[in-house]
Symmetry: C2
Subunit: 334 residues, 2 copies
C-alpha cells in the first residue's frame, strides 16, 4: 500500500527517468522500520514507570534508565556500566532501542525474550542488587502501583511476571523509525547525500551486510568477533561459549543492531572502540580482512550516521510515593 | 481577575450563604502558587538538557536529575545522597520543586540564587566531581550544544555563567500549582475534606505557620532546629553557623518548603525522619513543646498531603551525542 502510494506520488510529480527506487529498496539487504503500535497503552505506561523507578534496586538509586538512558540512545555511553555501589560491570551496555528486533537478548543471547531479560538486572548483584521478592514487595506496598497492576493485569497481587511483562511492553515501543536512511529506502532520494550513498554501497560491497542486515541492521545472528584475525581484548567475555560450552562458540556474539549507532558509543562488547571510525576500521580488518582508506572509512561512518532514527518522545513518568509499609532502600549496607 | 471570576461563578450558581471564602483565603498565612511563565523557552529547554546530562559529571553517570529526580518530587528519597564513586553525602537532598521561592539555596542558605547554586554540585568532589572548565569543555565539543547556546546567548563560546543561567531558568519552571490545598484557598470548598481542614486548623493553631508560611509554606526564613529541646542527630551539619561562625547561628537551617512534602521523604537535613508522621511529631515536640495525639498527628499529616501539586510534565530531553573531541568520562579513575 505504502509502496503503491509512493510510486503514484513519484509519478504524479512527473519525475523523469526516476530510478526504480522502490524496487531497489525491496532488493536492499536492509529494510525500513515503522513506529511501534502498542497493544496495551496502560501496560506500556506502567512499564515506563517501572523502567524509570530506582526503587527496583537495593540502593533506591539505580533504574533501568540509569544504564539504558533514553535521553542518550538507550545506553550509558560508558565502556562498561556502573552498577550497585559503583561496581564496574564486565561488559558494555547495549541499547534498548529496537531491542525487540533482536533474535535474543544480551551479547551472548542468553535471554530469549525481553520479558526473560528484564528480570535479570534487578537481581544481579553488580547491577541493581535486589531480589524479585523485594522488588515486588516495594511495588505491592504502594497503592497507586497496586491500582495500575489491577487495571492492567486484573489483579493487584503483583508478581515478577507482571513486572517483566510490563517492562517488556514498554521496551517494545522503543522503536526508532524515520531515520534518513529509512526515508531513502522508502524512495526519498534526497534523504541521504552522495557521500552517505557511497558509504552505503561500500558497506554492501565490502560485505558488512553479510552480518549487519535486515530491519535492525543486525540483531539477527550470532557471529564470531575476529573472523580473519583474533580480537585482542582485556575483557574475559567469551560470548556464546559461556552458554553452550562448545569451542566453536568462543567469541561468538550477537551482531549488534547498527540503528542509532551514532548515539551508542563506545563500541563492541568491551566498549574498547571509542569512535565509529575505530569500530569501522576494526570491523574491516578483523571481519573482512580489509584495510579501509581514510576516505572509505569516512564514507561508511557517514552512512552509519544516517541510521539514527526518531528517538522515543514521551513525558517523564511521575512515580507514586512510597508508603510507611515500603521497605527502605539500602544504599550503603553490605 | 481570577478572584472576581470565581466569585461571580459562585454567585451565578446561586450558592446560598456562601462563606466569604476568598476573603478568608486572603487572610490565610499560606498563599496559592501559579504555574511559571517561562521568559525564554529556548533557555528553559537548554537548561532541561543540562539538568539531565550526566556528562556534566566526571563519571558521565550522574546528572542533577540523579539526586533531584523529577519523577520523584525532585529529590532522591534517600537519607543522604549517593555521589561520585558512591560517595555518601553529608546531608539530605532537598527538592528542586519550587526552589525558586526560597530566600536562599541549600539548607544553610550559602547560595543566594539558583544560578549561584547550580555551579556547586558540578565541581563538588562528592557529587559530580568535575570542574567547570571540564564541564564547559564537554559542552563546547558538541555542535548541537554550541548551536543552542548560540541561539540562547548569542555566542557559542560557552562559559559556566551561561550553563548556570540555563539550569536556573529551567529550575524556575519547576513550580507545582493546583494542589488541592491551593484549590481550597482559591475557593473550592470541596477540594479538601473535613479531616484535612481540621489538620490545617491545627497546623495554624499549634504555631507551625510561624515558620512554615507564605506561598512556599516555608523557604522564607532560617530557624533553629530544636527550639524547645535540642535536636539529637549523628549529622555534623550545624546550619548557618558554618557560614557566619556566630554561635547564635548554630543549628539554624532554612525552613524547608512543605509543598509536595508527601513526595520528598525522608525528612530533615539528616534525613532521619522516615515518615511524615515522625517529622510532624518531632516538629511538635522540638519546635513547639507540644505532644500531638495520634489523631492530631494524623490530621496534620492529612493536611500536609493536600500540598502535593501538579508535577512538572515534560518530554524527556534527547541529548546530542558526544564527538571525537569530547573528553571521555572517567568513572573509575582516581
Ligand atoms: C548497572 C547497569 C544496568 C542496569 C541497571 C540495567 N542494565 Fe540492561 N544491560 C546492561 C548491560 C551491561 C547489558 C549487557 C549484558 C550482557 O550482554 O551480558 C544489558 C543488557 C540489556 C538488554 C539486552 C539488549 C541486547 O541487545 O542484548 C536489555 C533489553 C536490557 N539490558 C534491559 C534492561 C532493563 C529492562 C533493566 C531494568 C530492569 C536494565 N536493563 C537494567 C546494563 C544494565
Ligand atoms: C562476520 C560478521 C560481521 C561482519 C562481516 C561485520 N560485522 Fe560488525 N559486528 C559483528 C559482531 C559480532 C559485532 C559485535 C562484536 C563485539 O562487540 O565483540 C559487530 C560490531 C560492529 C559495530 C559496533 C556495534 C556496537 O554497538 O558496539 C559496528 C559499528 C560494526 N560492527 C560495523 C561493521 C562494519 C562497518 C562492517 C563492515 C566493514 C562490519 N561491521 C562487518 C559482526 C560482523
Ligand atoms: C550527588 C547528589 C547531588 C547532585 C548530583 C546534585 N545535587 Fe543538588 N543538592 C544535593 C544535596 C545533598 C543538596 C543539599 C546540600 C546542602 O544544603 O548543603 C542539594 C541542594 C540543591 C539545591 C538547593 C535546594 C534548596 O532548597 O536549598 C538546588 C537548587 C540544587 N541542589 C540543584 C542542583 C542542580 C542544578 C544540580 C546539577 C548541576 C544538582 N543539584 C546536583 C544533592 C545533589
Ligand atoms: C521555629 C520554627 C519552626 C516551627 C514552629 C515548625 N517548624 Fe517545621 N521545620 C523548621 C525547620 C528549621 C526545619 C528543618 C529542620 C532540619 O531539617 O534540620 C523544619 C522541617 C519540617 C519538616 C521536614 C521538611 C523536610 O523537607 O525535611 C516538616 C514536615 C515540618 N517541618 C513540619 C512542621 C510542622 C507540622 C510544624 C508544627 C507542628 C512545624 N514544622 C513547626 C522550622 C519550624
Ligand atoms: Ca555501545
Ligand atoms: Ca527530604
Amino acid at each position: 500500500m505504502i509502496m503503491r502510494a509512493l510510486i503514484i506520488s513519484l509519478l504524479s510529480v512527473g519525475t523523469i527517468a526516476a530510478p526504480p527506487v522502490m524496487a531497489a529498496a525491496a532488493d536492499e539487504p536492509i529494510q525500513p522500520i515503522e513506529a511501534a503500535k502498542p497493544k496495551n497503552e496502560n501496560m506500556v505506561e506502567l512499564g515506563k514507570m517501572l523502567f524509570f523507578d530506582p526503587r527496583l534496586s537495593k540502593s533506591g538509586f539505580i533504574s533501568c534508565n540509569s544504564c539504558h538512558n533514553l535521553s542518550m540512545g538507550g545506553s550509558d555511553n560508558l565502556p562498561s556500566s556502573i552498577g550497585h555501589k559503583w561496581h564496574q560491570g564486565p561488559i558494555n551496555s547495549p541499547t534498548v532501542l529496537n531491542s525487540s528486533m533482536n533474535l535474543a537478548q544480551f551479547w551472548d543471547g542468553r535471554a530469549k525474550t525481553l520479558k526473560d531479560q528484564a528480570g535479570g538486572p534487578i537481581a544481579n548483584p553488580g547491577e541493581m542488587a535486589f531480589s524479585h521478592e523485594l522488588a515486588v514487595g516495594v511495588l505491592q506496598s504502594i497503592p497507586q502501583y497496586r491500582n495500575r497492576f489491577k487495571e492492567v493485569f486484573g489483579s493487584d497481587k503483583i508478581d515478577i511476571g507482571m513486572v517483566t511483562d510490563a517492562i517488556a511492553a514498554f521496551e517494545e515501543t522503543l522503536v526508532t523509525p524515520d531515520s534518513r536512511f529509512d526515508k531513502w529506502l522508502k524512495g526519498d532520494k534526497a534523504a541521504i547525500n552522495q557521500t552517505e550513498r557511497e558509504g552505503y554501497n561500500l558497506f554492501k560491497d565490502a560485505g558488512c551486510t553479510g552480518c549487519h542486515n535486515g530491519a535492525a541492521v543486525g540483531g539477527a545472528s550470532f557471529q564470531k568477533m575476529g573472523v580473519m584475525e583474533p580480537y585482542k581484548t582485556k575483557s574475559k567475555a567469551e560470548g556464546r561459549f559461556a552458554i553452550t560450552g562448545k569451542d566453536a562458540d568462543r567469541m561468538m556474539f550477537k551482531v549488534p543492531t547498527l540503528r542509532n549507532i551514532e548515539l551508542t558509543y563506545p563500541y563492541f562488547h568491551d566498549g574498547a572502540a571509542a569512535s565509529l571510525e575505530d569500530a569501522v576500521n576494526t570491523m574491516g580488518r578483523l571481519q573482512l580482512g580489509r584495510n579501509f582508506t581514510k576516505d572509505e572509512n569516512a564514507k561508511i561512518v557517514a552512512f552509519l550516521k544516517t541510521l539514527t532514527g526518531k528517538q522515543p518522545q514521551f513525558l517523564i513518568p511521575i512515580l507514586p510515593p512510597s508508603t510507611k509499609e515500603t521497605p527502605k532502600p539500602k544504599p550503603f549496607d553490605d
